[in-house]
């Protein structure tokens, strides 16, 4: 039993914090939020280029496929840092979901092509077509009147060249496709978090783009849902930490009644409650990463538990951070809203806290009779 990160894992995380501190400070988030759609494409491409040069998209891709060959335990700190910075680009979808899924399907040519594009670093990979509910993964993908497939809430479609899309037929089951962007029609979806790239994608169903179907696709989708829960939990932990830090810093500065508001117990207790929730979401999130890295039979349970705790921790941190900031926190001018909006979006993505609690309960180990 060793529940710790290695020195190298800590170094990796610090390197990511430094990089994102440079590439994605709050000023850059503000610029992104206020930019025109065209300008956003340029800004995103610049930042993605920097992250790709560091090897970030291929962290989980084996070295033989030009990746870094790292594990989910290495990645969890990277995601936490991305959450801390509210990174706009789809790192979770590309590095955390698409990359390991495609790598697992090698040497299938369609997977190899898509993975080649991913590690080459020109563009992220968009992901869509999987929803998580109390019954497990389902697909929001529907068939349109003209025979195309329609998938809502695809993440990362604006900048991606490859879309990883899932659909599920009641009779034949799941299919996974790697669809070239040029074959699709994309309608951007306006969301509260302007830095989040969400679209509805219309795409042609073709055997040319098929990655997996039937049992293999179902297993991939299930694992992808677990990775999404665990990965978004890590983002949410980073976001919660950032919001608590912003609010605590503000509470030390802001003076009322002749003293910093952070000296009032009412303010202290709000922040302490948020800090306690974060404290216990962290090890649950790290355990989920370890379970993914080592393919534990409990991986779904562990990922759901992490997502349930991290969603709650981030929701509470957002609520408390806003309250502690008071009216200034309610303004566009204050940086807090970048982090709150991402937290709200991720908290309800890939299954919200209540959904994952039910998934955990269904898988919870029932008491067994005492062994002789």
């Amino acid at each position: 039993m060793d529940f710790s990160f290695s020195d190298e894992q800590t170094e990796l995380r610090q390197a990511v914090r430094q990089t994102l501190g440079r590439e994605c400070p709050t000023a850059a988030l503000r610029e992104f939020y206020e930019a025109t759609p065209d300008r956003r494409v340029t800004l995103a491409a610049q930042r993605w280029g920097t992250l790709s040069a560091l090897g970030a998209p291929g962290l989980l891709v084996p070295e033989v496929a030009d990746g870094l060959g790292l594990s989910d335990v290495d990645l969890v700190g990277v995601f936490e840092e991305a959450g801390w910075s509210a990174l706009p680009e789809p790192l979770l979808e590309t590095a955390g979901l698409a990359a390991p899924m495609l790598a697992a399907l090698l040497p299938a040519p369609s997977a190899a092509r898509a993975l080649g594009a991913l590690v080459s670093g020109n563009a992220p990979v968009a992901v869509g077509g999987i929803d998580v509910g109390v019954g497990g993964p389902s697909s929001p993908t529907t068939v349109t009147a003209d025979g195309m497939l329609r998938t809502a809430r695809v993440v990362g479609a604006r900048d991606a060249t490859v879309y990883l899309l899932a659909c599920r037929d009641p009779d034949s089951g799941w299919q996974l496709h790697a669809v070239p962007a040029h074959a699709c029609t994309v309608h951007a979806t306006a969301t509260l978090d302007a830095a989040r790239d969400l679209s509805t994608v219309h795409w042609p169903l073709s055997s040319d783009t098929l990655l997996a179907y039937g049992v293999a696709a179902e297993a991939s989708v299930s694992l992808m849902a677990d990775r999404a829960a665990a990965g978004s939990a890590a983002f949410l932990v980073g976001l919660a930490d950032r919001m608590i830090t912003l609010a605590a810093d503000y509470a030390k500065e802001r003076q009322q009644f002749g003293q910093p508001i952070g000296s009032f117990q009412a303010v202290k207790h709000l922040l302490a409650n948020a800090r306690v929730k974060l404290e216990f979401a962290r090890p649950a999130t790290y355990r989920a990463a370890w379970s993914l890295a080592t393919a534990q039979p409990t991986v779904s349970h562990d990922a759901s538990m992490a997502k349930a705790m991290a969603s709650d921790a981030a929701d509470l941190a957002a609520r408390v951070a806003l309250q502690v900031h008071g009216a200034i926190g309610y303004t566009w001018e204050c940086d807090l809203h970048f982090f709150m909006k991402r937290a709200w979006a991720l908290s309800s993505s890939w299954g919200d806290a209540a959904t994952h609690r039910q998934l955990v309960l269904a898988q919870a180990q029932r008491p067994s009779p005492l062994a002789p």
Partner: protein, 395 residues
């Protein structure tokens, strides 16, 4: 700068499985417990008969070296690490073994004795504590010093011979105080000093002349704690723990143990959560309670993970700092939530005092309700979290 040169060699690190030696230890503990744990529950340890029955159980544990596995061998332990202690605790709760009547001593005082005690003190006090021959109570709170522990007014003055102290004052809410043989407590030795200065940590024999014990019936009618009155109680210098005047920092090390790792092992909550899920299933899985049941289970599991996380830090040489206050808030609120959810599931049966499952949940709920109050109220813990983890100014 590419990430690769830094990180390509990443190997090892996290491993959340127990190795063969740990598993063997678990099997040994499980086997012993299944052969020795009394099949019928012991009478309440807050009664004279129950207290002695629990003391006898401590002797049984001690006879086979299970009472204090993490202590050095010479004091009755097995010299094992914190992970083995956690494994033992998991098996202990899994086996539904009796409440540890010696817990104030073995979990709260012992870590402090091991850190601050003289060799003679360790030799004198640890073995009988491990054997259950001497049960300890805690003399900290006073009528006017509860959460504000630094407001202690009970005092100790030098005796005429200059080889000891005379203790005068009043302590209250001393768990096990009605029956314990010994008391550890802090008294003011420098009467001119303010607040947390000028305090000294004493080990006091409860049958010393000048001590009067007044048991206090608790919410359930039993005498779980007591008031202790001191009237010029003579205590020799050999029963001062740590330096004279250093009582606060010595006491804080006990407070760290209490809130941190050693008082409430996670097995207590994971075991209760497993029983809660069992109850939920027996009730047909009512949709109205599903979220609360899942929450209680998840929080118990999270507390276990957090404890492994902390234990790893301790094993790597770190100490438990103000994070211990997060722990205390979390386990005490988890305990309340588990039992409250069970009572909701029981509905109209929840109030029944009959023996059997419903009564056990009610007892557990009453016990859990004390958690957010003792060992420093959760409000005090939130202040600690805000001031020491988040750096907010003291109010």
């Amino acid at each position: 700068m590419a990430l690769c040169p830094t990180v390509c060699q990443i190997r090892g690190g996290m491993d959340l499985t127990f190795d063969a030696a740990h598993e063997a230890f678990r099997t040994e503990a499980r086997t012993w417990l299944s052969a020795h744990v009394p099949t019928d529950p012991l009478p309440s340890l807050d009664t004279a008969t129950g207290f002695e029955a629990h003391r006898a159980w401590e002797a049984t544990l001690f006879a086979d070296r299970w009472s204090v596995v993490s202590w050095p061998t010479e004091f009755g332990g097995r010299n094992l690490g914190i992970m083995e202690w956690l494994i033992f605790e998991e098996e202990y709760y899994r086996a539904h073994a009796p409440t540890r009547v010696s817990q104030n001593g073995i979990f709260l005082l012992a870590p402090t004795l091991l850190e601050y005690g003289t060799p003679a003190q360790k030799e004198r006090f640890l073995p009988p504590m491990a054997a259950g021959e001497e049960i300890w109570c805690q003399g900290w709170s006073e009528p006017d010093a509860g959460s504000d522990l630094a407001g202690i007014r009970s005092r100790a003055v030098r005796n005429g011979n200059g080889d000891g102290w005379l203790l005068t004052g009043q302590k209250t809410w001393a768990s096990r105080g009605a029956f314990a043989e010994w008391c550890f407590g802090i008294f003011r030795t420098d009467l001119g000093a303010e607040r947390h200065r000028g305090l000294t940590y004493f080990l006091i024999k409860m049958d010393s002349p000048g001590i009067t014990v007044r048991p206090i019936p608790q919410i359930d009618g039993e005498t779980g704690f007591a008031e202790i009155f001191f009237d010029e109680v003579a205590v020799p210098d050999t029963q001062v723990l740590g330096d004279v005047g250093a009582g606060w920092s010595v006491a804080m090390s006990t407070a760290g143990s209490e809130r941190g790792l050693s008082l409430r092992s996670p097995a207590r909550y994971t075991e209760a959560a497993a029983r809660l899920i069992d109850l939920f299933d027996q009730c047909g899985g009512p949709a109205m309670s599903a979220d609360a049941v899942a929450r209680a289970y998840i929080d118990a599991e999270a507390y276990k993970l957090h404890t492994y996380w902390t234990a790893t830090k301790v094993a790597h040489g770190h100490t438990v700092g103000p994070e211990a206050s997060c722990n205390k808030i979390f386990w005490s609120e988890t305990d309340v939530a588990i039992h409250q959810t069970a009572l909701t599931l029981l509905g109209t049966e929840a109030e029944l005092l009959d023996a059997g499952t419903p009564g056990a949940w009610l007892d557990g709920y009453l016990f859990a309700l004390a958690g957010p109050i003792y060992a420093g109220t959760n409000e005090i813990q939130r202040n600690v979290v805000a001031e020491r983890l988040l750096g907010l100014p003291r109010g």
